[in-house]
Symmetry: C2
Subunit: 456 residues, 2 copies
């Protein structure tokens, strides 16, 4: 019983400072979502197992945390399954629920269940934890928050324009300036696949192309050939090896390259619309970049693909992403609902802000002032002031036990409380308070009104 | 696959309005906690199974949701257990983690694990969901939030004073006026048990006494005798059958009644201190009531016991509670840490506020204004205004697709959006916007600056 307790691997305790900082990030994202007209929903932490299974591929199914049925869950289990010791088969018999693996499938389930209450297009955001039985490693946890915004029921490209500006405004508000909003389109990738005549090699192609900066044109070509892409095909897309310039210049190159592909050309036009409207609106601190190597979510995205690169000084990779998917709710029987959504990577954003020292001074859990405990009578006298300060919105605590003054000051100091109030017989008879600023050591005797004024 | 999806029994989806209202309650409680010097922590949703088991009694152990181990969890299981189909024995072999059942045990585990980083007394608050495999019924769910504040490492009675005033201030801020803060003390209950000479009958005694209003003195006495309490013992505490008057008058009765009990007398003095200091401070809208029938948490509380009664016009019972426990962290090997804490019942408070119509008008998820979509050119013109409004903090959305104006107005109306903006060729050439208030139908043509001014 008395052995030192621990927590499951891949999970975390959050200290007061960490909670305050995480809440600051989440509040800023939340305000961004709401200003852009998104509405919050919340779904249960666990879903019926059959809602989740089969939605994330075989590997995903394995990583879903299943919840054991309550009570005598073995009583109805087929004995042959027990005898065979087949874990996979037994799971379905002793588990009916599982912790959600992401927020997208629960959202699709929500939309289908509540379709008669919802006015489409439906703009929802959701900020809740998800769980994955992944092997834990640096920056990868078994419990983590996702912060998602999606629109469902509209094919309008204005949604893509909105998401680009939303990313810009939220990162600007967080002080994370200079993020790169990478934009691509699934249809452009399909066009490239068409042109190189090898749609099954698309991932190999984009992975190799992404290494251009590191291994140069010859290196990339060698890798492509090694992966089985024909030299002739590579030659057809040679424009991509010199894929520089402005958004508009890149678009022009793609127009040429994909002229023979109907789908590719459609992708170019979609990107052109988004690029043009975003430029007219103007981004506050982010940069928009057309990146044809961006191939995330290739299996489900059907239009725009987004990814957010951290500011260049930080080596952290992606801190957000998303895209358009044409049939999110089809898995639950509601057809033809186009959706588009983005996600903010809370843990990564936290690391970026920590590294760049971007958390405002005021974002911490410390109280503003502590009243010292000089005895019962003094405390009793102090309580009126304590409550008036709180009613005025000042975070105020009191040292609960009578202790040496030095110890009490040390306590306030360790906790980062900037002010202390002392009350002795003199203060009580004059109806005053001694306010001490701990950093400077400066002390002033003040009235209650002055005290509130100083600390508010 | 296409069958209509559902959610596990006892769980809930929350709509945008419900999330907005729940967040309003939680924000208000959070501000209260912080103004009183409490700091937030968060712990993982699941704990190691052995952290939780044995802490909530046999019934509690049954109601804990266990998580199935990942991978081939049966491979190491003893075959005789499988053959015996003993669910209870198998659980420990195939499950190492479980969803938290409350926030108190994880808090104790946190304190012990992080004792070297914590400066005591430690005032923490925590607002996170907990899970119980209880039979679902009206107002009882399998997933629900707890909102707890505790102080650990201080025996000072000022903590009790603080919690009474904290309850008062939070319910006042929520607009829930007239709650009753019921106060009792475990030592008084022990004193009564001593006086009636039947400590094993204490629960029966308080349950019967609690029915005084309903079944009268004779009824209560009959029930007590039926439960095996001696008539002579009942006579010794007859003062409790006329237990009315002010806080001070009730205390006086208890002083007499418990004069022979050292522990009971100590309980009276503790209550007297809290009552006196609370009265000096003054409660804004709550009432303090000494209630000797309050016997919640009899197994773990050692001092003060709190319970919050909803305003009398609402028949809802307890909407919060707490108490002092002398050895919270002992179960994890850290001795002599006295703690005291309270909890707000989020779901019940929600019901009270709904019934009394206390949610402010502004607490909903609706946007303030929607820009109609009159075509691509008009949208493109509108976007500057859309973004300026958002940058000014106004929740602004746009109708993403070109559709009949009537349909677009209907959409805004259904969603409770109070204003709409229309842009046509005239507005564009004059650099203006037509602002329509949907309720009155009133339309005005305004400049961008006026638009922001009107909607801010």
């Amino acid at each position: 019983m008395a052995k030192k307790p621990g927590i499951p691997k891949g999970t975390r305790d959050f200290s007061p400072t960490e909670v305050a900082r995480r809440q600051y990030i989440m509040q800023t994202i939340r305000h961004g979502f709401e200003k852009f007209g998104f509405h919050p929903i919340e779904t249960p932490s666990f879903e019926n197992l059959d809602t989740l299974l089969g939605k994330y591929g075989e590997e995903g199914d394995r990583l879903i945390f299943k919840i054991l049925n309550s009570g005598d869950y073995l009583s109805k289990v087929d004995e042959t399954i027990l005898e065979s010791k087949n874990s996979l088969k037994l799971t379905n018999q002793i588990s009916e629920k599982a912790l959600r693996y992401d927020l997208t499938v629960p959202f699709a389930r929500y939309v289908v269940m509540h379709q008669n209450e919802i006015d489409f297009p439906f703009k929802r955001y959701q900020m809740q934890p998800v769980w994955r039985a992944d092997r834990p490693q640096k920056g990868r946890y078994r419990e983590f928050y996702q912060c998602d915004a999606d629109v469902i029921g509209s094919k309008s490209l204005w949604q893509e324009v909105e998401f680009v500006t939303l990313y810009d405004r939220v990162f600007t508000a967080l002080g994370v300036h200079g993020v790169t909003i990478k934009l691509n389109n699934r249809k452009i990738l399909s066009g490239i696949a068409e042109v190189i005549g090898a749609s099954d090699k698309l991932i190999d192609f984009t992975v190799a192309l992404d290494k251009l900066d590191k291994i140069g044109e010859d290196g990339v070509k060698a890798e492509m050939i090694e992966k089985g892409i024909e030299a002739e095909a590579i030659d057809k897309v040679k424009l991509l090896f010199n894929f520089t310039g402005t958004f508009e210049e890149k678009l022009e190159k793609l127009r040429q390259l994909l002229a023979t592909s109907e789908e590719g050309t459609k992708g170019v036009e979609e990107l052109a619309f988004v690029g043009k409207e975003v430029e007219k609106i103007g981004l506050a601190t982010a940069k928009l970049n057309l990146d044809v190597t961006l191939a995330r979510g290739l299996n489900y995205y059907t239009g725009a693909i987004f990814e957010i690169g951290a500011p260049e000084t930080v080596k952290l990779g992606s801190i957000g992403g998303g895209g358009r998917y044409d049939d999110l709710t089809g898995i639950f029987g509601l057809k033809d609902m186009s959706g588009v959504g983005i996600s903010f990577g809370l843990d990564r954003i936290y690391l970026v802000m920590e590294e760049l020292n971007l958390f405002p001074e005021a974002v911490n859990a410390a109280s503003k002032v502590m009243f010292l405990n000089m005895g019962e009578e003094e405390m009793s006298y102090s309580m009126q002031a304590v409550m008036k300060l709180r009613d005025a919105g000042v975070k105020t605590e009191l040292y609960p036990d009578k202790a040496k003054v030095g110890k009490q000051f040390q306590f306030a100091d360790k906790k980062g409380i900037p002010f202390a109030v002392l009350v002795g017989s003199e203060e009580m008879s004059n109806n005053k308070f001694t306010l001490k600023e701990l950093a400077s050591g400066e002390q002033t005797v003040v009235s209650l009104e002055e005290l509130i004024e100083r600390l508010k």
